[in-house]
Symmetry: C2
Subunit: 300 residues, 2 copies
DNA sequence: AAAATGTTTTTTCCCGATAAAAGACATTAC
DNA sequence: GTAATGTCTTTTATCGGGAAAAAACATTTT
């Protein structure tokens, strides 16, 4: 089994959800664009849908015969990419107790533990190395640098530099730029969330990422935009692991975002700078306080 | 042939050069550290040296019998790592005429052209992607973003941000920090080079990199330090390709470095800032003027 | 003739296997 | 008893192969 068909399974599941909405499916190329897969995969999906009696398929005619049942879906865990599977396993280890800085990372062991080939693990580690948490010794093992206080400080230093610059660039964008519409949209989503924060606080992460990515894009600098991947990864896993005070934290952050948005809309550089700094300061604080004091780098 | 023995060959060549200097070789572990390889490789080297009559090897005794001849060395091209071979081929293509932005990169084709397996090419492309010149389409090909004016501007924007900050941090370092000794050393190397610039101008690149890396290290930020890899890569290949005005350019840069070093030694933030800005400005100018106007990004 | 479907070819993704290189353990020398 | 050498084991680097997915080409439909 050299390659899993998770692309097909995931697209199949997403296609099932489309069935609820229409009486017949569009053309193969159209479906391909919609699902983000090739026609080859679309045709596999259609074949199975025909076999399981979901649709009647005859050339251009793809009539929906019945609504999808839960058992029509492929199990969620079969739709993940190998990269996602490896990432999750790896991060679990990394954030678990005992993952001290200086520790060696063994490709073969990781591969066996996760149950995948070494190639995939190697490729993952290479991709992951840009996050600054691991480092390769030539012709030898990887070394864990550890999720330390120093790491958090270095990360936030760059983040602050980049975001202040992006925010300034954002505020200087012309009135007719499309970003102002996106910002309005995000603002109303924030207001909506703020009013229901008691129950929906866990939806903040996703909104947070979209908001900051919008701002970073205004820099028109690929290095700044790409750096947000590092931040997003850290926040994603870190907060998954550390849920303390989550509700309170997110409630505060939503308000800071709203103030930040107002400042951007005012287009007053001083106000933007102040609102941005304020939010970044509390974001940094949140990250720092959630790192156990014990986690210090060991001398190599 | 699943793996070439370039590590052995390269270490062997380097070990040959040691033979000139001594009458007998040190212990195996010591040689290993010296050459940066494991004892296993050291023992292979010693075996061959014995076979070819270079040394007499009996346990702890490794007596040099004769000086190495040119034919004792392995050919240079057999000592390169696969990664270096792939990088060179790839960069040649990238900087060659006709490498327009938006162009697809085909792993299989590259692998066949270079004569290596696809795995190595894939790994190279993943590592290379952090330079911001290529981008992956999921489950599909890589796309070349191109060595455009936009790329150069984005790169220099970050470089300037990072270096100004690093230079300021450098100047603020305590008197007794070891960096001041390194700086003195670099200063005298610069003076030496300046006095012989007419003939040694091509040695500037290497000095330039060491100087800037020293400054960036003062930031104590892994993201800043790592970013210099991007700059170094670009400068390395770009100037290999564009030799116009090289001598004049380097002569100017050496003088700017000397002024920059003097500013750092003065530890006056304003002077440091000014000297750093001046040098970065001319570095940016040099890079920009050497990019053909025609090389513009195509809309995706 | 434009756009769909049907068919074939190519490429990507991933595994298992193998030589090179590193690392660990055992033994010997000083 | 420390540090070297000798031997054995494990890991890394790389390839070839094969299924999944994409892409290209050919044919039909409207």
């Amino acid at each position: 089994m050299s390659k899993s068909n998770n692309v097909y399974k995931d697209a199949f599941n997403r296609c099932l959800r489309l069935l609820d909405e229409t009486k017949s499916l569009p053309s193969e190329p159209e479906l391909g664009t919609l699902l983000g897969v090739s026609r080859t995969t679309v045709r596999s999906i259609l074949s199975r849908m025909e076999e399981t009696g979901l649709i009647d398929w005859n050339k251009r005619n793809k009539t929906v015969l019945r609504a999808p049942k839960p058992e029509d879906f492929f199990p969620e865990e079969e739709t993940d990419t190998l990269a996602e599977i490896i990432e999750r396993s790896f991060m679990r280890r990394l954030l678990a107790e005992g993952a001290e800085a200086g520790m060696q990372i063994n490709e073969l062991e990781l591969a066996r533990e996760i149950g995948v080939g070494t190639t995939s693990v190697r490729e993952f580690l290479i991709r992951f190395s840009r996050f600054g948490l691991i480092e390769k010794r030539r012709n030898s093992h990887w070394v864990l640098k550890g999720f330390t206080r120093a790491f958090a400080l270095e990360l936030t230093e760059i983040r602050e530099m980049f975001e202040l610059r992006s925010a300034a660039a954002f505020a200087a964008l012309p009135e007719d730029s499309a970003v102002w519409i996106d910002l309005d949209q995000l603002e109303s989503e924030h207001r909506q969330l703020a009013s229901e924060i008691a129950t929906r606080f866990n939806e903040f992460s996703e909104l947070d990422e979209r908001f900051h990515r919008l701002i970073h894009r205004a820099s028109h600098n690929r290095f700044i935009v790409d750096f947000y991947d590092v931040i997003a990864m850290i926040f994603h896993y870190h907060y998954q692991w550390n849920k303390a005070e989550e509700r309170q934290r997110n409630a505060v952050a939503v308000q800071e975002h709203l103030a930040y948005i107002a400042a951007l809309k005012s287009r007053d550089p001083a106000k933007v700078d102040a609102a941005c700094r304020k939010h970044l300061k509390s974001a940094r604080q949140t990250l720092l306080t959630s790192i156990p004091e014990g986690r210090q780098a060991q001398p190599a």
